[in-house]
C-alpha cells in the first residue's frame, strides 16, 4: 500500500504521526466510546495516564533486553549553564537537518511503550481480594524502521481493558473478549481472523521469552484483511504480578489485556466503508451495543 493515504481529516506527518480532524476525528471518538462501553460491561475502573513512564519500572520486566529497538527515551540537557549556552548558540548540525545535542542529563524515563504498563505500576504492592478490571487509552511510542499512516506509527493510541486476577478469572476475561472482538468485527463488516502471534523481540533467536511465546502462545492478534493486526489478546501469566508485587489471595496476580490499536481500527473501517459510512456503522453499533455483547454477560 502507498505511504501516502488520502483520507479526509487525516494529515500525515512523516515522523510517524497522524493528525486527525473533522469526521475522521469524530469516528475516532465514537469508536473509542464503543470500546469504553465494552470496558464498562466489565465494570472496569477508568484511568487517565501521563506520557512518561519510569525506566526503573520497565527494568522490572526486562523491557530493555527484550525491546531495546522500540524504546523512545525522554532526554533532557544536563543543567550546566555552559552546556545549555553551547546548545543555544548552535543547536543544529552543519547540514542543518539534525539537532546537535549537548551533554544529556541521566535519563530515567521513556515515553509510554504500552498502555497497560501504567496499570501494573499504579497497582504495585496491591493485595487484591477480587478480580480488578481497568481500562485506559494511552498515547504509545514505538520506534520503528519505517512508518505508514494509521498502520505503523511512532506515536499511536492504544485502548486497553486489563484484568488482574486468578488464572481462571483472566482466562475467562480473555475468552469473553475474544468473542466480543469477533462479533464486533463482523458487525462492522471487517474481514478479520485471530492469529497466534509473538511480541517483536530484539534478536528473537536468542530470546528465551520469544521461544516461550512460540511453545506457549499467550498472544492472539485480530488480523484485518490478512495483513494488519488491529487488536490483540494477551495473557501474561504472573509476569507483572511478580514484577510489581501485586497479589491475589496471597499469590502473584495473573494479568491479561485486550488491546485495540485505535489508528489501525480507523484504517480498517475507512478502507472498507469510507469515513462517512464508517461513522454510520459505528454509530449504529453504539445505538444498540448490547447486540454485540448478547449472551456474553460478565
Amino acid at each position: 500500500m502507498s505511504e501516502t493515504l488520502e483520507i479526509p481529516g487525516l494529515t500525515w506527518r512523516p515522523n510517524g504521526q497522524s493528525v486527525l480532524s473533522g469526521d475522521l476525528l469524530a469516528l475516532y471518538r465514537d469508536l473509542d466510546g464503543g470500546f469504553r462501553w465494552l470496558a464498562e460491561q466489565s465494570r472496569a475502573l477508568e484511568m487517565d495516564v501521563p506520557p512518561l513512564f519510569p525506566a526503573e519500572a520497565l527494568q522490572r520486566i526486562d523491557y530493555f533486553s527484550s525491546f531495546p529497538h522500540l524504546a523512545t527515551f525522554a532526554c533532557v540537557h544536563a543543567d550546566e549553564p555552559e552546556n545549555l549556552k553551547a546548545f543555544a548558540r548552535e543547536p543544529w548540525n552543519s547540514q542543518g537537518d539534525e539537532l546537535r545535542l549537548g551533554t544529556l542529563a541521566p535519563t530515567q524515563n521513556v515515553l509510554t511503550p504500552a498502555a497497560c504498563y501504567h496499570v501494573y505500576l499504579d497497582h504495585a504492592g496491591s493485595r487484591l481480594e477480587a478480580p480488578l478490571y481497568v481500562t485506559l487509552c494511552a498515547k504509545c511510542f514505538r520506534r520503528e524502521t519505517h512508518y505508514q499512516p494509521l498502520r505503523r506509527q511512532w506515536a499511536f493510541n492504544m485502548r486497553e481493558v486489563v484484568c488482574l486476577g486468578k488464572p481462571e478469572e483472566v482466562k475467562a476475561f480473555l475468552a469473553r473478549h475474544r468473542m466480543v472482538m469477533q462479533r464486533l468485527a463482523s458487525h462492522l463488516d471487517l474481514a478479520c481472523e485471530f492469529e497466534h502471534a509473538t511480541d517483536p523481540f530484539f534478536n528473537p533467536g536468542a530470546s528465551g521469552k520469544h521461544l516461550m511465546q512460540r511453545v506457549d502462545p499467550v498472544k492472539e492478534e485480530l488480523v484485518f484483511s490478512h495483513s494488519l493486526a488491529i487488536g490483540s489478546l494477551n495473557y501474561h501469566r504472573s509476569t507483572f504480578g511478580e514484577a510489581f508485587e501485586i497479589q491475589r489471595d496471597g499469590e502473584p496476580v495473573h494479568t491479561g489485556c485486550v488491546a485495540f490499536g485505535m489508528e489501525r481500527w480507523l484504517f480498517a473501517l475507512v478502507s472498507v466503508h469510507g469515513v462517512l459510512e464508517a461513522r454510520k456503522r459505528v454509530s449504529g453499533w453504539l445505538s444498540t451495543p448490547h447486540q454485540v455483547m448478547e449472551g456474553l454477560a460478565h
Binding site: G208, V215, D216
Partner: protein, 85 residues
C-alpha cells in the same frame, strides 16, 4: 539416541535442578511444566540446548510449536518419539 525412560528421567533431573524447592517425585510425565512455573522463559533456552545435547543434533525448529514444552510427555513425543532408532 536416548530411550524414552532415559529421556524422561534426564528431564526430571534437569527440572529438579532448576527448581530445587520442588521434590523430584512430584514432577510427573504429564505435569504441566509451564502452568506450574517449573519452566520459565529464563530456563527455556537452556532446556532447548539440553535437548540438543540429548539428541546429539539441533532441534527441528519447525517442531517448536504450541505445547511442545508443556510436559515431559509432550517433549518426548515432539522431539524424540519416532526419531529414535
Amino acid at each position: 539416541m536416548v530411550t524414552e525412560s532415559q529421556l524422561k528421567e534426564a528431564l526430571r533431573s534437569w527440572l529438579s535442578q532448576k527448581n530445587p524447592a520442588v521434590p523430584v517425585e512430584t514432577i510427573g510425565d504429564d505435569t504441566p511444566l509451564i502452568d506450574q512455573r517449573l519452566l520459565t522463559s529464563i530456563q527455556v533456552m537452556d532446556l532447548a540446548l539440553f535437548l540438543e545435547d540429548l539428541r546429539g543434533e539441533p532441534l527441528d525448529m519447525t517442531r517448536l510449536r504450541a505445547g511442545a514444552f508443556s510436559s515431559i510427555n509432550a517433549i518426548w513425543s515432539t522431539f524424540f518419539a519416532g526419531v529414535s532408532a
